[in-house]
Symmetry: C2
Subunit: 316 residues, 2 copies
């Protein structure tokens, strides 16, 4: 078994078309070509932490993938990142372990950002006028970076709770070629941005339905549990198009689960990202519609990015 | 993260008291000190194979362990063992990956054999007169080897379906100091052995209640699914003591699940191995009783053996 460390993974990624891999994964998933059992969970009470095990394979693929991702929320006090993780790639014919990717959670971050870029490509009104980013963390940065692949827009407004974090974000993303304004008011952001990405672990809505203008696309990536919520549920009721990365998963967690429980949408109104990408489900049909994509993270993304990295290294 | 290959694992095991580690694990498990979520399962239809993910931790321990074990039944045609597997050890405080143990399934084989030895230590009539082994595979060998730690008996009768496999078993175990007779008749085996270990993947009972004599202890390790069965269910009805490695698990799979469904035992009559070892549940109370231990394999065994190997290597 090959052990692949983060530096080598980053190098291999330079020759991987991440968006194409993730798009193919969503299409296969929505066609029922992926086997993705329920997520395994291990909760550690004291100290606080939780571990998720996501796994599966594509029928007619070469590999199966098991991802272990952890969040230990006291880690920053120890000078460690709260997230950690690794992915294991096995041979689908023999069960032999091929590789362990010690990605420290980077591949998860990247495949999540790639899903956001795909949602924007297929659902935003193009050309995008201004990008709104809610949050200032790793995902707030990566989402913006990957949006470069689907839009020429470089005008950005970022929302955060702390001026310091906003300034740091502004500096970093300005260095990457964006023109970044900051705000402490999500209403101001919604008033000037037509492509909004929310990336926070909020448990109370940050974005209000009254502030969202016609023609806006919103991608919500922060909420991946039954408790977290970034969007007022009425936004999903107001939206003409509501897209889930996985309908099965969004039933249980994320913004869509909140809106279903509150009665703002019915499951029949929700379409899957893979079907939108494949053109078998309707996406946006007018520049005045509001569209929402709720991304909770699906194992098929892990399968795709892990096998792409291993394939890239094998072909060197 | 440290990558530990089989050769190094075998070396580390020479300074591990496997029986003591597994015994402590069962005791902790039966006291409710282990967190062991439901087993994750991935089934690959074509080619045939299945993957089990067992994971958990001991409260007040240092680590959590995730084991991936696979069985791909066409592998022998390719000259590969059907079983494969690895174990991952993580820091319970931070989630950081400590080690991957590329044990190729050996630690699972060993912890299973250790459980059999513990059952024999606590439930067989000592001194044992003759050991009966049902089956001729890896587990049939390892069970006998580990019984050396709990009994001085070296007289053995082995049952198998094929004379060739029996002869090979006889040769191998004779070289390890046992006096081995062979038989094609489990009735003959039950008639002369008072400690019987069944190790096959049979789906029809091999051992009949009419053949089992008073004073016999039987450990059944082969059946780990709802379908497999090595013992006529009436044997568990006849037995005065029925022991499960995990009552929760034996409800769903193994010999006890068969006997529960057939009405030969009730769940209240079943005691756990960890409680017997700790002395908090009754084991054998007379040399005339029949006792049965049903071992389906519990993640706490994986936790114990994996952390013991890592600890042994760290203290070198």
């Amino acid at each position: 078994m090959r052990v692949i460390r983060l530096e080598e993974i980053r190098q291999a990624l330079t020759s991987v078309d991440v968006l194409a891999e993730i798009a193919a994964g969503f299409v296969a998933y929505s066609r029922g070509e992926a086997v993705v059992p329920p997520v395994g969970e291990l909760v550690l009470d004291d100290p606080p932490g939780d571990v998720h095990i996501k796994y599966g394979y594509l029928r007619r693929g070469d590999s199966y993938v098991i991802k272990i991702a952890s969040g230990f929320y006291d880690n920053p006090k120890r000078g460690l990142p709260s997230s950690n993780g690794l992915m294991l790639v096995f041979d689908q014919q023999t069960g032999a372990p091929h590789a362990v990717l010690l990605d420290e959670g980077h591949l998860t971050d990247l495949r999540t950002a790639a899903a956001g870029a795909l949602a924007a490509r297929h659902l935003a009104v193009h050309p995008v006028q201004r990008i709104g980013i809610v949050g200032t963390g790793i995902q707030a940065r990566l989402q913006l970076e990957l949006l470069r692949e689907v839009t020429d827009c470089r005008s950005v407004m970022v929302w955060g709770r702390r001026a310091e974090a906003l300034e740091s974000y502004r500096e970093d993303m300005t260095a990457k070629g964006f023109d970044v304004a900051t705000t402490l008011d999500t209403g101001e952001l919604a008033g000037s941005c037509d492509l909004i990405v929310t990336t926070t672990p909020a448990t109370e809505p940050l974005l209000r339905v009254a502030d969202v203008r016609p023609g806006t696309h919103i991608t919500a990536v922060g909420s991946d549990t039954a408790d977290k919520q970034e969007l007022e549920a009425a936004i999903l009721g107001r939206a003409e198009v509501v897209v889930a990365d996985s309908i099965a998963q969004c039933r249980e967690r994320g913004e869509i689960s909140q809106a279903l429980r509150a009665g703002f949408v019915t499951e029949e109104e929700v379409v899957e990202l893979g079907a939108v990408i494949a053109g078998t489900a309707p996406g946006r049909s007018s520049s005045q519609q509001i569209t929402v994509a709720d991304l909770t993270g699906v194992a098929v993304q892990d399968i795709q990015i892990a096998t792409a990295v291993v394939r890239s290294l094998a072909s060197e």
